[in-house]
């Protein structure tokens, strides 16, 4: 039976040609290729699945199942997963390829390519797309957990699709063992504090990203968990002692001294008041008081007549 398996996976790979490395994240390599059958460009994400004594681990299968399930809804703000195929077994790992529709660029590149910045209209459109995608994930009880410009793809006509959720995240554990630096800049306070967390972490990240759409630079660039938190407190102010989570955290309230407090307006003068109100609703320290994706979509920021500046 083994020979059959190999010939099958070989068949699969022949369906795509011209592998070009386009991205290298913390977890896997992404290639651009052409689907020979349709002629469409695809993005192949190579991931290694560690096999255990009982084959493909349950967590991996669960995530694939959910990824598939989510995709069956064909949501316009979620990158489309076209196929999954597995390649050879390398040592204890099984190499798998996730085949996605190929999207022009990620948001990080898009920002870089637009040094003059975006119009209010564009920002509103991008923000709405991100929130729509995240609202969809959250209503399916899925937390993205790693929203950042590199994981948001922007189509040629300026729409956003969420990418990079699911599968790769089973590697969180391994990640700590490797030297790969994962950015802390979009992480919510509860994550930095090592507390349990849920869907509000994504809203925090979106808040950071919307600011960045205005300012073109990340708002909180910490170099460690503690540093990241103190940068956050410069904007939010240090939470009162009673607001500090009771849950056990190794990071103590006393260890922060907030100096050089700034306001959002000082950080980026282009953000209008309505937008500031929305953003501060998302950048709320207490996850329970933070806006939800649906709250945000219903915010007056998205209802007002567009003011093009």
């Amino acid at each position: 039976m083994a020979y059959l398996e190999n010939s099958m996976s070989a068949d699969k790979q022949k369906a795509y040609e011209g592998l070009n490395k386009i991205g290298r994240g913390a977890y896997g390599t992404v290639y651009k290729a052409k689907d020979k059958q349709t002629g469409n460009d695809v993005a192949l994400k190579k991931v290694c699945v560690p096999l255990d004594e009982d084959g493909i681990p349950m967590s991996t299968l669960r995530e694939i199942a959910l990824l598939r399930q989510l995709n069956s809804h064909d949501h316009p703000n979620i990158v489309k997963l076209l196929d999954i195929c597995h390649g050879q077994q390398v040592g204890q790992d099984l190499v798998m390829f996730l085949v996605f529709e190929h999207i022009e660029q990620d948001l990080a590149t898009y920002i870089e390519k637009n040094p003059k910045g975006f119009s209010t209209l564009q920002i509103r459109q991008l923000s709405r797309d991100i929130l729509n995608g995240v609202d969809f994930l959250h209503s399916n009880r899925v937390i993205h957990r790693d929203l950042k410009p590199q994981n948001l793809l922007v189509t040629y006509d300026g729409h956003v699709k969420l990418a990079d959720f699911g599968l790769a995240k089973t590697y969180d554990f391994d990640m700590k063992l490797t030297s790969v630096v994962v950015t802390l800049w979009y992480r919510a306070p509860e994550v930095l504090l090592g507390l349990s967390y849920a869907t509000p972490v994504d809203i925090w990240s979106i808040g950071c990203i919307i600011v960045e759409l205005y300012s073109l630079k990340p708002i909180f660039c910490g170099s460690s968990e503690g540093d990241q938190l103190s940068k956050i407190f410069r904007l939010l102010g240090k939470p009162a002692k009673h607001e500090w989570p009771e849950e056990n955290t190794s990071i103590k309230w006393n260890s922060f001294d907030v100096i050089n407090q700034i306001t959002l307006g000082q950080f980026c003068p282009y953000i209008c008041e309505t937008a500031q109100d929305l953003i501060m609703g998302m950048l709320t320290f207490d996850p329970n008081k933070r806006m939800t994706a649906l709250d945000a979509l219903n915010h007056k920021y998205f209802k007002e007549e567009p003011i093009n500046t």
């Binding site: 039976m1 059959l4 084959g55 669960r62 995530e63 199942a65 598939r68 399930q69 999954i84 899925v142």
Partner: protein, 395 residues
């Protein structure tokens, strides 16, 4: 996303048929594989969702491969193994093989080769590729429960009807219905069948509007009576098949062999007019230990089949749902208040399914959650299995 539904013509031109296996034999192979999944799963206390998922993988797999190339019992074990992981009820591969072995003859188990575990593990990847990693499968059960909650009428009869429909859903796994119709439609059809056979006529339901002629109009669109009849007959045909287990190619499962007494045989005219042989003890005598409920409710569908088969004509008559008639029956109490405990006669079959199994091989009894109509029981599955968050919170 690939479509997983096929029409009848496609179901007759499968890789197996191109490999020279005739349709009847293929259907038997499908049934036997499904049975092994259910029997093995029951013996290992796996839930009905896990078993049903495994069976759906199995049927899909053989839309792409021939039974000649992939022996059915190995595939069956592999499907159950994979379904266990996907449904978060994982079982060790070696334990599944061990259990399956206890249910198979040595001759059948020989198809697992020298190293059965290796065989199943290798097949896992072929299976995944074949079913295109489309692992999340929905089953009629959840819809059955959802729909039942909306039906008004005599509570005991409703319970009986749901119990019966639940069993039909179990049995439908042995057919290729899951390759033909969405779970919603199968649920409607089998509730329709159960309603007919248990004489539970649905005249009113929650959420009814003047547009609804039949209760299912609320849930599914464009479902014709012909379609419902067709689905019902595919399930009913299971009970009227000759016992294929007696063919030399496919000896009966050991546990059955030991206890299979020559069944009294009767004939019945099946829907398509063919004379068929019926063995009365083939279906699960779920109610054997159950004191009969009120006399106007037939004890169980199978006795109805084997004793007094429902007249096809009346069965085919659509419900006469008087349009605009005032609601006759108030909502059953379980819909407004906390669910009452199951009435005593419904709590059967008790967990002693297996001793019962030895006496009367009920094909699927164990799949029915003990303490049947699950929506009355405290540990009933939630009607809509919520999706788990992708990322479990760090511990």
């Amino acid at each position: 996303m690939p479509g997983w539904y096929y029409d009848k013509k496609e179901l007759r031109s499968t890789p197996s048929s191109q490999d020279g296996i005739d349709y009847k034999t293929e259907m038997r192979y499908r049934k036997e594989g499904a049975r092994l999944i259910i029997d093995t799963g029951s013996k290992m206390d796996l839930g009905y969702n896990t078993m049903a998922t495994g069976v759906v993988y199995y049927h899909r797999f053989y839309m792409f491969h021939s039974f000649k190339q992939f022996p059915r019992y190995v595939t069956a074990c592999c499907c159950l193994f994979l379904a266990g992981k996907v449904e978060e009820t994982p079982k060790k591969c070696k334990d599944i093989i061990k259990t399956a072995r206890s249910l198979l003859t040595d001759q059948k188990f020989a198809t697992f080769g020298e190293d059965p575990k290796e065989e199943v593990m290798t097949l896992e990847r072929i299976l995944l590729q074949t079913i295109k990693f489309d692992l999340q499968v929905e089953h009629p059960y959840q819809y059955l429960l959802k729909y039942a909650k909306c039906l008004k009428g005599d509570k005991v009869k409703l319970q009986k009807m749901v119990q019966m429909a639940w069993t039909f859903v179990n049995d439908s796994l042995c057919t290729t219905l899951a390759l033909q119709w969405e779970p919603e439609i199968i649920a409607v059809a089998l509730m329709y069948l159960a309603g007919k056979l248990s004489k539970f006529e649905v005249v009113d339901w929650i959420g009814r509007t003047s547009k609804h002629i039949r209760w299912w109009d609320m849930f599914v669109e464009d479902v014709t009576m012909e379609l419902l009849e067709d689905i019902c007959h595919q399930v009913l045909d299971l009970y009227s098949q000759t016992d294929a287990n007696n063919t030399p190619d496919s000896p009966p499962l050991q546990s059955q062999k030991a206890t299979n007494q020559p069944p009294p045989v009767s004939t019945q005219r099946s829907s398509n007019g063919n004379e068929k042989v019926v063995s009365p003890d083939q279906p699960p005598p779920v109610n054997v230990k159950v004191p009969p409920p009120s006399s106007d409710v037939p004890p169980f569908p199978y006795q109805t089949f084997t004793g007094a088969p429902p007249p096809v004509a009346s069965y085919a008559t659509p419900f006469a749902a008087p349009m605009g008639a005032p609601p006759v029956v108030a909502a059953p109490p379980h819909l407004t208040g906390p669910p009452p405990g199951p009435p005593p006669h419904i709590t059967a079959p008790p967990p002693t399914v297996f001793s019962q199994y030895v006496n009367h091989p009920p094909p699927f009894t164990a799949v029915v959650p003990p303490g049947a109509p699950p929506f009355f029981s405290a540990n009933a599955p939630p009607p809509n299995q919520p999706h788990r968050p992708y990322y479990p919170p760090p511990t």
